[in-house]
């Protein structure tokens, strides 16, 4: 199977794009390098360039084309009918406008809820800072889940949200983190590729904690990143390959949740001691409830 990946940012952004890149690599390892080959086109945040790339991949006979962003949905809707034997996939999304389009949908709110619990339990100042890119899409899902998680364990805690207005301005993200810290936040979190800027600022002071999403960002700040919600896109890829093998080229809504292993929660064992002793147990219990459906997270 030949797979092509189109991403808005880069394969080393430690966030959304890298998570997918990692997922494909993992899938490749599992299937064998001869069973799955892939190519990547990066930095295609604008839809015109992405459209050209997707169409060209389709023309060149790639079997699976993953357009890794919600903004690519309409592009796929335009292109897919011309290539009925090719599977297209995009996410975050639910809508499958053509029979050969998959939509994948990480339930960012689930992990966010758990990270929120951890934040609520860990914070001493009672102030938690959230560094947002722009107020849309996954960022909203994440923020909503996170706030509910905090409230479920610590109703006195304050979650403060501030946005940079862009996805890629890591200096601005760092400055927002700094402002949060000055204002008393001791636990911080956020989404999008710019957060590396924020993590580094948080890491400057000991005792402050970052909770990361999309990828485990522990690698750049091993003493700061306390826990991470990781998107396990490997399952999405394997799922698509399996579907194709059974003659289904698309039309499915593939969710990533704790229930199906699409989401993974990582704790940083080296510093987990910062959190209260029973935090891990509480969170794992909540995770089970999310999996069995007894804990619902409101999105509206």
């Amino acid at each position: 199977t030949k797979l092509a990946l189109v991403i808005p940012s880069t394969i080393d952004d430690l966030a959304w794009s890298q998570a997918m890149y990692q997922g494909i690599k993992d899938a490749q390892t599992e299937l064998g390098a001869d069973k799955l080959t892939f190519e990547v086109s990066e930095r295609l945040w604008n839809a015109v360039d992405a459209g050209a790339a997707i169409r060209q991949y389709a023309l060149k006979g790639f079997n699976i084309i993953i357009a890794h962003g919600a903004q690519y949905q309409s592009l796929l809707a335009d292109i897919a009918p011309d290539f009925p034997k090719t599977s297209f996939a995009y996410g975050t999304g639910f809508n499958t406008p053509e029979p050969n389009i998959f939509a994948y949908d990480p339930h960012a709110q689930e992990g966010a809820y758990l990270l929120g619990m951890l934040a609520g339990l860990t914070t001493r100042s009672g102030i938690i800072g959230l560094v947002g890119p722009i107020k849309a899409g996954d960022a909203i899902k994440y923020n909503k889940g996170f706030e509910q998680g905090v409230m479920s364990v610590n109703s006195k805690a304050k979650v403060r949200v501030a946005y940079t207005g862009s996805f890629g301005d890591l200096v601005a993200a760092g400055e927002i983190a700094r402002t949060h810290i000055k204002a008393g936040a001791d636990v911080l979190t956020g989404t999008s590729q710019q957060t590396v800027g924020a993590i580094n600022v948080v890491a400057e002071k000991e005792g402050l904690v970052w909770l990361s999403s999309d990828m485990d960002q522990k690698s750049i700040a091993p003493k700061t990143v306390l826990a991470a919600q990781v998107y396990n896109f490997k399952n999405v890829i394997l799922n698509i390959v399996k579907n194709r093998a059974s003659g289904v080229y698309g039309g499915k809504h593939l969710e990533l949740s704790f229930a199906n292993g699409g989401l993974i929660l990582n704790f940083n064992d080296a510093i987990i001691g910062i959190a209260p002793k029973n935090a891990r147990e509480k969170i794992l219990a909540a995770k089970e409830k999310i999996i069995d459906g007894s804990l619902k997270i409101e999105l509206n």
């Binding site: 990547v40 604008n46 949905q73 011309d82 849309a136 899409g137 899902k141």
Partner: protein, 368 residues
């Protein structure tokens, strides 16, 4: 005479080829650093887009908005204003167009499309006009205001497409991607070739180029704008309301960028998306200057630039190098071409080069 013309053409081609060669040579180093074969890379870059329908059509998909932006830039440059606010003007134009296309009562496409164009022209004109007004009446430098207004426009645009204008379904399903609903299919610009994205926008842009040409060189308004552009004092002396024409120039510059916005909406995306301006506001400046700030010159310039974008993009996928290399190569090529230009247009520089070949011993005043 014939011989002279031929040798001067040969010189021009030679000098351009030479500078391109230097640029590509430097680029080759980058390819080698990235672990790719520069020869295959270049071969793909310059020939792939021209080899199939896909490549050629994609070139025109890029050329259309580039040309429109470049037209506006040409007008404002000719009036002495450097407009680097194309990005913002495209976005505001797109939003105005989207409002009409999404929320106006249904009507026949032949009414709707011109209406959308008009709206986005007005939107872009408004955005450009702010900078123009501040320049003419408040003496605010246009580079400052247009750079700043770009950021403001991005925020407004994003606010609208993720807020009030967001696709209702995004709310219903909770995905919340910042995009508007799709525009009704009958309002889309017709695709010229089945299976490819090329649409009638390029034809529209070329027609606009011809109109702008007539406007600038054959009408009294164009005359006034050009006069204001090169010599404000003389223009005032001639009775021209210089402030108003500075403003008008920015209104046109913004308006054309706005048109590029609606061409992208109606022709390519069919909805409002993030980063719809796609850097055209900047590359449009390059296209306009390559076109000699002449509306007709901008037509080939936009096509060549379209080739450069599409070719580099294809090359990146063909040889699997980091996408950054596209930017670097494009930058190098542009630098090479602008650098060689002076040897073509300025006699004294040309002579210097020729002397290098002719008389290695140095210039002799006796030479005939």
């Amino acid at each position: 005479m014939k011989h002279k013309q031929f040798s001067s053409l040969a010189f021009n081609i030679g000098i351009t080829a030479f500078s391109l060669f230097i640029a590509l040579l430097i680029g080759a180093v980058l390819f080698m650093i990235a672990g790719a074969n520069p020869f295959t890379a270049y071969a793909v870059m310059f020939t792939a887009p021209l080899q199939d329908v896909f490549g050629i059509t994609e070139m025109f998909v890029r050329a259309a908005p580039l040309l429109l932006v470049a037209l506006g830039i040409s007008i404002s440059f000719r009036s002495g204003i450097l407009n680097i606010g194309g990005e913002g003007q495209i976005l505001i134009g797109a939003i105005f167009g989207l409002v009409v296309a999404l929320y106006f009562p249904k009507m026949h496409w032949s009414l709707m499309i011109p209406l959308v164009f008009l709206a986005s022209f007005l939107g872009g004109a408004l955005w450009g006009g702010i900078a123009g007004w501040m320049k003419a009446y408040l003496n605010v430098n246009e580079i400052l205001s247009t750079v700043m207004l770009n950021y403001v426009a991005i925020q407004i645009y994003n606010f609208l497409i993720r807020g009030p204008m967001m696709d209702k379904n995004e709310v219903v399903y909770g995905t919340g991607a910042s995009q508007t609903a799709r525009i009704a299919r009958e309002y889309w610009l017709t695709k010229l070739i089945p299976g490819a994205r090329m649409h009638t926008g390029m034809i529209f842009a070329v027609v606009m180029a011809v109109i702008v040409f007539f406007f600038l060189w054959k009408t009294i308004y164009g005359y006034r704008m050009r006069a204001v552009g090169v010599e404000v004092k003389a223009a005032r002396y001639a009775g021209i309301n210089t402030k108003w024409y500075l403003l008008l120039a920015m209104i046109f510059a913004g308006g054309f960028a706005g048109l590029a916005g609606s061409v992208e909406v109606l022709g390519v995306h069919h909805m409002g998306l993030e980063s719809i301006s796609a850097g055209y506001g900047f590359s449009g400046i390059v296209v306009a200057l390559f076109g000699g700030l002449h509306p007709l010159g901008a037509i080939p310039a936009s096509i060549v630039f379209g080739l450069l974008i599409v070719g580099a993009d294809m090359m990146q996928r063909a040889v699997q190098v980091p996408a950054y290399i596209i930017l670097a190569i494009q930058g190098l090529i542009i630098l090479a071409i602008v650098s060689s230009n002076v040897f073509i247009t300025k006699k004294s520089m040309k002579v210097k080069v020729l002397n290098l070949f002719r008389k290695p011993a140095g210039r002799s005043p006796h030479a005939q």
